[in-house]
């Protein structure tokens, strides 16, 4: 009896210590977001190239697709969640980006290919903040550029016939008038 009492007491103590440790870890990562998390376990995500990442629950909360998936599965977090559309490189970038507080300047150092992969991943994972930043960066890049420039740069296939093109140009004539692009 006494032993059981002792062992359960120490088990409780150990659990309490662990919980405190986990909360502290989360606090150091999240800074001010110290009040939210009940779960202490990291979420396991498996990328398309079969690599498993352990991610803090607070970060996963921003991945609305995953968060919804977890909630729909009774908060079952022990098995790795598959991300068939996200490679390990991309997920690593996302976590890096997040750790830098979504610093726009960091994104500008990446190649266009990576930015695209990030957009596709952010779209799939439904990460609004990340998606907004990436979207704005691409938008800034294509603003005030000629159609030819954007088409060539992004390799966009023109699937219009010359007649269709002429018609669209005419419909939007005002947008071409006096237009000086900064290609």
């Amino acid at each position: 009896m006494g032993e059981k009492g002792e062992s359960s007491k120490s088990a409780m103590l150990k659990h309490a210590e662990e919980e405190e440790l986990n909360t502290k870890r989360l606090k150091t990562v999240e800074g001010e977001e110290s009040n939210m998390v009940e779960e202490t376990e990291n979420i396991k995500l498996k990328t398309s190239d079969e690599i498993i990442f352990e991610v803090e629950p607070s970060i996963v909360k921003e991945m609305v697709t995953i968060q919804t998936f977890i909630e729909d599965n009774n908060n079952e977090t022990s098995i790795p969640i598959p991300l068939p559309n996200v490679t390990s490189n991309t997920l690593r970038r996302i976590l890096e980006f997040k750790a830098r507080g979504f610093d726009e300047e960091f994104v500008k150092t990446l190649g266009m290919d990576e930015v695209f992969e990030l957009i596709l991943a952010a779209n799939y994972l439904n990460m609004k903040t990340l998606l907004d930043i990436l979207t704005k960066i691409i938008a800034d890049f294509i603003k005030n550029k000629s159609v030819e420039f954007v088409r060539k740069f992004f390799n966009i296939v023109n699937d219009f016939t010359p007649e269709e093109e002429a018609k669209i140009r005419e419909e939007n004539a005002w947008a071409f008038e006096g237009f000086e692009c900064d290609d």
Partner: protein, 303 residues
Amino acid sequence: MTQSVVVDFNNLPEGCIANILSFTSPRDVCRLSLLSSTFRSAAQSDAVWNKFLPSDFHTILSQSSSLSLPSKKDLFLYLCQKPLLIDDGKKSFQLDKVYGKKCYMLSARNLFIVWGDTPRYWRWTSLPDARFSEVAELRSVCWLEIRGWINTGMLSPETLYGAYLVFKPNPSGFYGFDYQLVEVSIGIAGGENRKRTVFLDAERGRRLRYQIVPRRAGTGIFNRARFLAPVEAPPVEDNDSLDLQHPKERADEWLEVELGEFFNDGQEDKELEMGVYEIKSGDWKGGLLVQGIEIRPKRTPIN
């Protein structure tokens, strides 16, 4: 980010493309609809044009006769093309095509015109080329004072606005303005006002623009000035100042002169006051037709 991309933009879902487009501008969206059928489809979507329309367009439209247009793009372009009469025909509303910012014109009836109700000084008539049912006709005053107000909550946030008096000379009886400096101002009511001086005589501007302006009055056309107006305005240095100080012709063939500019940060709602005054000289002047005061976004600020 200078090399060509291997990843195919065509792979982006249309929703993503629409999202990207919504952060550009109405013009960019229309041009880039040429890229591909996916781009065109994204460019036509309501999701994109909803972002360019002012957030309160429903309220604004409800003040006018009901409009039903098939798409948000159509609505946007419609609001850019023609001014819409709102507030019982006292104001007009329009969108600026470049970024969808709101523009207004306060009709003369919506302004405070000192002596405006005294037929000896001011009359009210209708002109076919005016957008409002009435314009104010200045017959003759020595005290010229016109003021207008607009709540900044009606304007687009984070925008530099310019205010302009929209008027024209009455073909018969325009007088007293050729050497008359008129004071104009803009600012928050009860707060700091930015004041400038202008001339309402477009002819004077034209004369000065095409002649070499001597540093001192006393030669050529300025001989007359010495006898008619002992106080001449300081000699104008360059074309930019000339432009700011004199009326310009508008696309609708009226004239406008800038009263000043105001940056709307979109924080608290305040009353913006604009004014035109000539109350110091005591000289009589007349022959103006005033349509109203227009408030619209400016591209570049006055220095």
